[in-house]
């Protein structure tokens, strides 16, 4: 038998206590908070919208990161109607009018990825949890981009990838909430191979040095497939750690391998070091198999060219974009960037600038910051006037398709920003591939996630 002691006092006491307990949440849940949830994570409150720019400010890709940050700041200025408006005037979509996004002023927070997946995710998390960022952009390494893209997918935030060139970003590791404007390793291979064929002939033996992470692997795979298709032979592929700064022990064996082309699948500080050391070892003065020894750098950037100085003369590579392009969008962007900072932007900067405008435009066209609305607005979107000619955001893998540039180190540069010249503008049709291409297979976008 259970024995219960219902006393009048006890009943009143319990009733009052439970009443207070029930009322507590409604006391704490102020008006500001209840409005915060309108169906998706970090719905903007008040008259500002916060974007998160997560770039490497230290580590091997720090130079690229700083340039990306400059571009982001410029984009925010233009979105808020400050400065000269840049590409807003040339962009094919006209919904952005310099009053922020959907009437909300654009604010931003920055973070340091340190070119490490862990640090990048911590930084992105703090932007999402602490600063209420509705979109994360940036990144200068595919490893980081893949890690942060995964995080944004889980958290229900849009990720507008910055400089990431690995096939995996929109291949094996693609996510519904992630978008990439930058080109990829496959496109580099497809654009470079015909140019290499013309310049160096079909009978070549290639030796690859490859940065040991997702970008390096897919870059190497792509360029190997593309060059073997024109008849080249691949002698060897050596993986080098991303953190290494001394490549002499990797370069010495190249001399005795019988190869007559060295392909450096390196980027940023890595590439500057490996190329400089390769030139110091006298590789480019060598004659192998009766042919001049050549070096190829599949992915170029203006900052790397600047860092490598005279060593890049005559070296072929590819880029997403160049400030030397003559179209309206490029000129508008280069003009405002140059006015603000005093030097031309790199292609890392351009992709980040374009991504920010594309996000803003998608939100404006969709009339909402809801990630699912943005995904819908960006999928299969055709646009022009941001610097790369007519571009398509493909719905199947969230990859942009546009012309790719093949560049060569200039023999007599006028100044340090003039180190590269455009050899060929490879048309979009030549670098396109099916969404289920073997190099991109194995992943799925999944569903767009709007979060809480």
């Amino acid at each position: 038998m259970s024995k219960s002691n219902f006393t009048r006092r006890g009943l009143i006491r319990t009733g009052a206590a439970s009443g207070a307990a029930l009322a507590m949440p409604s006391i704490f849940t102020g008006a500001a908070w209840s409005a915060a949830h309108s169906g998706y994570t970090n719905a903007p409150q008040g008259d500002t919208v916060t974007l998160g720019f997560n770039v490497p400010q230290s580590g091997p890709y720090a130079d690229e990161g700083m340039d990306e940050l400059r571009a982001f700041e410029l984009a925010v200025e233009h979105l808020n109607g400050e400065g000269d408006g840049g590409c807003l005037a040339t962009f094919s979509s006209k919904v952005l009018d310099g009053t922020g996004i959907l009437g909300k002023k654009v604010a931003y927070v920055t973070g340091d990825t340190q070119t490490k997946s862990d640090a990048a995710r911590a930084s992105a998390k703090s932007m999402i949890e602490k600063d209420g960022a509705i979109m994360i952009s940036g990144g200068s390494s595919s490893g980081v981009a893949v890690a942060v893209q995964g995080l944004c997918q889980e958290a229900g935030i849009i990720f507008m990838a910055g400089l990431t060139h690995s096939n995996d970003t929109t291949g094996k590791d693609k996510k519904a909430n992630g978008f990439r404007h930058f080109f990829n390793a496959y496109m580099s291979g497809a654009a470079l191979a015909p140019v290499l064929d013309k310049a160096y002939g079909a009978d070549r033996k290639a030796y690859h040095l490859t940065a040991d992470y997702t970008w390096g692997w897919t870059q190497q795979e792509s360029i190997q497939a593309a060059t073997e298709a024109i008849g080249w032979e691949t002698v060897n592929n050596v993986l080098t750690p991303l953190a290494s700064t001394d490549f002499s022990s990797y370069i010495a064996p190249v001399l005795n391998s019988g190869a007559d082309v060295l392909v450096l699948n390196h980027y940023g500080g890595n590439m500057v070091n490996s190329l400089t050391q390769a030139v110091q070892f006298g590789l480019r003065d060598k004659q192998v198999n009766g042919k001049d020894f050549q070096i190829v750098v599949p992915l170029y950037s203006e900052l790397m060219a600047k860092g490598a100085g005279a060593n890049i003369k005559g070296v072929f590579g590819s880029t997403n974009w160049s400030w030397k392009l003559q179209d309206e969008g490029t000129q508008a962007f280069v003009r405002s960037f140059g006015t603000k900072y005093g030097f031309p932007p790199s292609n890392a900067a351009q992709t980040c600038y374009a991504q920010t405008l594309l996000y803003a435009d998608a939100a404006a066209r969709a009339g909402s910051f809801n990630p699912c609305a943005i995904v819908e607005a960006l999928e299969g979107y055709e646009f022009d006037g941001l610097g790369n000619g007519p571009t398509l955001y493909r719905a199947e893998d969230h990859q942009c398709f546009k012309d790719v540039l093949v560049m060569q180190g200039k023999e007599n540069p006028d100044n340090e920003y003039d180190a590269l010249e455009i050899v060929e503008i490879t048309p979009r049709a030549q670098v396109e591939y099916a969404p289920d291409h073997p190099m991109f297979a194995g992943g799925s976008l999944g569903e767009c996630n709007p979060g809480a």
Partner: protein, 403 residues
């Protein structure tokens, strides 16, 4: 209570209170104010405080008690993380499988590494542990890529087996349905917003247990033996006592703590990266312990919080923020002030931390705990009238081991 004397019980209760009230204590400034920048009460950072607190508590059992300076503890952190993520990939997202495995695998590795490294002491021991950690890093980074996914980091893909995954199970780390990422209460009082996060409280409870265990070790005969090793190992050996089993036990325990911390990192965020094992990460825990106060119970936790706070809060102050701070000044002076402060914030947070570290080591050799004690002494002095007694008491306090 719980095998502790009344002073320690009070100490433990204070620690429990501080840990549980962290979401409120770290959110001292209202939203929208200029100082909101310095709030640290968001889930990710609080989780890191608790996790790195555990890491530092464990490290302190080795370094603080025996004086053996391991420079390779990050290896165990990484091993713990990989264990947990592999359990996600093979079984399901419940952390109950991964965490014990993280402790066991890191314990096994610690036993192997400790068995070899502990043949030497002093600087040679440090170098040996460093070498092992760098070897583990290199293995994880490139050699064992199929197992660790190299630089990209080990992640869970939709195509993974996950044999135990139920149809309605959450698809992010959880503890029997309590999803780590979710907040169970988000009250706002006036302009103050507080976030009570499942993951943080999960870590916090484990951190309290870890702290309690370390408190018991500190007070046990075993802890006394470890202290004896620190003060004079040679004399102990001469008395016919074999000290190696004790140091090895301490090494394995602290390795398991590190493995637990690594496992918790992966429990909060389902990704394990090789850089967690790099020597900088090993150095970080040494810094945490020394900054907070080596050999004290609370010190390493304070040090861990201090460093993580700098890493996450100071690194996010950019020029834009500086301009709003100094916006009230005339233009010329504003730019000047921004130029002065700029190298110390944003990517320059390492510099600020370095300067503070130097200041602590030079002026407070006992770490932040010593600062607390000095301040405490300043206030306590007033209650004693006799100058004589005061000096005596002060002397006595200085002689008791710092806790």
């Amino acid at each position: 209570m719980l095998g502790l004397n009344s002073k320690d019980t009070k100490f433990l209760l204070i620690v429990i209170f501080l840990t549980l009230a962290t979401p409120i204590l770290l959110q001292p400034f209202p939203e929208g104010s200029g100082m909101a920048q310095f709030n640290a009460g968001y889930p990710d950072l609080m989780q890191r405080f608790a996790i790195y607190g555990i890491f530092a508590i464990g490290f302190n059992i080795l370094f603080g008690l025996t004086g053996y300076l391991s420079f390779g503890h990050a290896a165990f952190l990484g091993i713990g993380s990989y264990s947990v993520v592999w359990m996600y990939k093979l079984l399901d997202y419940n952390v109950i499988w991964g965490l014990p495995l993280a402790i066991i695998t890191s314990g096994i590795f610690a036993l192997a590494i400790g068995f070899i490294s502990l043949r030497r002491s002093g600087i040679y021991f440090s170098i040996l542990t460093l070498a092992f950690a760098q070897m583990s890093f290199a293995l994880a980074y490139s050699v064992l890529t199929p197992l660790t996914n190299g630089e990209t980091g080990l992640q869970v893909y939709r195509s993974d087996k996950q044999v135990l995954l139920g149809a309605t199970e959450p698809t992010s780390p959880h503890f029997f349905g309590i999803v780590m990422r979710e907040n169970f209460w988000e009250p706002s009082v006036g302009n103050w917003q507080f976030t009570f996060n499942n993951g943080y409280y999960f870590c916090a409870i484990i951190a309290i247990l870890a702290f309690y265990l370390s408190l018991r070790i500190f007070r046990s005969p075993f802890g006394m033996m470890l202290r004896a090793i620190k003060s004079n190992q040679q004399r102990m050996n001469y008395t016919g006592l074999n000290s190696r089993p004790y140091t090895l036990a301490a090494f394995v325990i602290s390795g398991m703590y590190a493995g637990l911390a690594g496992g918790l990192l992966a429990s909060m965020d389902p990704l394990a990266g090789a850089e967690r094992m790099q020597w900088t990460a090993s150095g970080e825990v040494v810094l945490m312990t020394i900054l907070g106060g080596a050999g004290t119970l609370l010190g390493p936790v304070l040090g861990a919080g201090f460093i993580k706070y700098f890493e996450n809060i100071f690194s996010k102050i950019n020029d834009n923020v500086l301009h709003t701070w100094f916006g009230f000044l005339p233009d010329g002076i504003e730019d000047f002030m921004v130029t002065i402060v700029h190298p110390f914030v944003g990517k320059g947070w390492h510099l600020t931390l370095g300067l503070l570290f130097m200041a602590v080591v030079i002026f407070l050799p006992g770490g932040l705990v010593e600062l607390g004690q000095r301040v405490g002494r300043l206030f306590r002095r007033r209650d004693i009238n006799s100058a004589d007694a005061e000096a005596k008491a002060a002397k006595q306090r200085a002689n008791t081991p710092a806790e």
